[in-house]
């Protein structure tokens, strides 16, 4: 995510630690950092969550409004995801319009939620072809210490799970909780030379050759994938990463629910 420089000494330390099976923060290669989820942290949002994945800190707010459906999906609600990489979160983030990495991040988070059918958007239709509920998922990165893909996905899922649709204020009956039906979990693995490390920390991410994010559902089925960075994976590595993602996903899923 960032282009800043990592010393050779640090690269060597990070690699050798991982090679020995114990990463610089003491984790095993397939062990994610500690995940802390706090639901409902912003009262002005219809749903919100703050997620800490290690020291990576992300806050997600859900705003609901009434809008028009897309012409090709006249009976379903609309989902829109944006990420702001604010300068507060890292010396490498700059103010201004979203850069390609922020756009990719938002689209990968969006894809995991959309393709897993986490929210039953058919239940968010008000008047077919005219009025549907629009969900805005706004991801605000507060502190960047690696692996924004997973932290943002967890934040978005946790926030959606607490969202109350403000129907009363719009004169559309009683408020109701967002119809959340599935629980996608995104797991990102970084490749450092010959090693695969789950949930890369900042230094690991900065020296990674390639990255693969795999979003699985509660059945272990694959709902979204995204390979990133300039390196490559062998097909065997991809298969190993998927298997690890299924395993890690199963372990993390309960902590996302409110």
């Amino acid at each position: 995510m960032s282009d800043d420089i990592l010393s050779d000494l640090m690269r060597d330390y990070v690699y050798r630690s991982a090679k020995a099976g114990r990463r610089t923060d003491g984790r095993a290669l397939d062990e994610p950092r500690k995940l802390a989820v706090e639901h409902g942290v912003v009262k002005t949002a219809e749903g919100s969550a703050r997620v800490k994945l290690g020291n990576t800190d992300v806050i997600v707010g859900i705003k609901m409004s009434v809008g028009q459906p897309y012409p090709d999906t006249p009976n379903t609600g609309v989902l829109s995801t944006t990420v702001e990489l604010i300068p507060m979160a890292s010396p490498t983030f700059e103010a201004g319009p979203p850069r390609p990495d922020a756009i990719e991040l938002a689209r990968v988070v969006d894809r995991g939620i959309r393709e897993s059918k986490m929210v039953n958007v058919a239940k968010l239709c008000i008047t077919p072809k005219e009025k549907v509920w629009v969900m805005f998922i706004d991801i605000h990165v507060l502190d960047f210490d690696g692996n924004l893909f997973d932290a943002s996905s967890y934040g978005a899922a946790a926030a959606l799970a607490t969202t109350i649709v403000p129907a009363k204020a719009q004169g559309l009956g009683d408020d109701f909780p967002l119809p959340v039906e599935h629980w996608p979990v995104s797991v990102t693995t970084a490749k450092i030379k010959d090693l695969l490390v789950v949930d890369p920390g900042l230094d690991e991410e900065r020296m990674a050759d390639a990255r693969l994010t795999v979003t699985t559902d509660e059945n272990g089925d694959i709902r979204a994938m995204q390979k990133g960075l300039k390196g490559s994976f062998s097909y065997d590595e991809v298969k190993r990463i998927i298997e690890t993602s299924q395993k890690v996903g199963r372990a993390l899923r309960p902590s996302l629910r409110p």
């Binding site: 390609p100 959309r114 694959i222 979204a224 994938m225 995204q226 390979k227 097909y235 299924q246």
Partner: protein, 288 residues
């Protein structure tokens, strides 16, 4: 072959015999045509027709990187711009980059980054431009396949060509190379790009719903198909750059006949002993 039990009744993307709407079977590609060197000004270019897709790719560079603060003192940048023409889709697309094309540009740039010998051209940029003129699903694969040929046409040193293809799932069946209808109404799409010589995956994306087994089936279809597409890419380059004897003769007339006598052959033996023809004849006569 495949289970076809949970096909939606109302829309059959693939029938009981395993035949798709456009008549293909599950492991069949759409017709693909690749031409190298189709533009005059670009350093390299290629045109790909892939089913209903029509995609042009151009390569400029290595040339001075702009903006200059992006320059890398150690290597060339590989920068791709994927763009769809406003008329390339049924509802006019607003011109200029949208979020989707920014993402596609990024993943395609990354796919080529490890293949181009970037360290040979410090401070420069290899700029790849992909223009989708007509879209029918799978434009990123067609664009990447075209860009790869354009890079070779530009003479940019590379470890290998990059070849791309997608597989997905329609009507519960894992199928190769989805077209627009199949992509819209299907259950999953999984584009990939590979370095055929080494099997390295340099692009991998997926959306929809695939079990782990289905994913493996999809990858095996794609990997097999990329071998065929790779051959088409190489064929396009061969057609561009290999000339027949007739063409060579036409371009450069035959050398005039020598007027001088050939110098006498040296009798000194340097490498292979030279045959003494007279002695050979004598031997034969002697033996007869």
């Amino acid at each position: 072959m495949v289970d076809i039990e949970h096909i939606p009744k109302e829309l059959k993307l693939i029938d009981e015999k395993g035949v798709r709407l456009d008549g293909r079977r599950h492991d069949e590609l759409r017709p693909i045509r690749i031409e190298a060197g189709v533009l005059r000004r670009a350093d390299g270019s290629a045109y790909v027709e892939w089913g209903g897709n029509k995609v042009l790719a151009a390569v400029y560079g290595p040339r001075e990187a702009h903006p200059r603060h992006l320059q890398d003192p150690a290597r060339a940048l590989v920068q791709c711009r994927y763009n769809m023409a406003p008329f390339s889709v049924s509802d006019r697309k607003r011109p200029g980059p949208d979020r989707r094309s920014v993402e596609i540009s990024k993943v395609i740039s990354e796919a080529f980054a490890s293949v181009v010998f970037a360290e040979q051209f410090p401070r420069t940029s290899v700029d790849i431009f992909i223009e989708v003129l007509q879209a029918d699903a799978g434009t990123r694969c067609a664009g990447l396949t075209a860009a790869s040929v354009a890079l070779a046409d530009a003479g940019v040193p590379m470890r290998d060509l990059v070849t791309s293809c997608a597989s997905g799932k329609i009507g519960g069946v894992v199928c190769l190379d989805l077209n627009k209808d199949e992509d819209n109404f299907g259950e999953a799409d999984c584009p990939m790009a590979i370095v055929p010589r080494t099997g390295e995956l340099v692009l991998l994306q997926m959306d929809g719903h695939l079990t782990y087994d289905e994913f493996q089936k999809a990858m095996e279809l794609s990997i097999a198909a990329t071998q065929r597409i790779y051959e088409m890419q190489r064929d396009a380059l061969r057609r561009r750059y290999s000339l027949s004897i007739d063409e060579i003769m036409k371009e450069s007339p035959a050398a005039p006949p020598r007027e001088t006598e050939l110098p006498e052959m040296s009798t000194q033996i340097v490498g292979e002993p030279e045959l003494d023809f007279d002695a050979l004849d004598e031997d034969r006569e002697g033996g007869a």
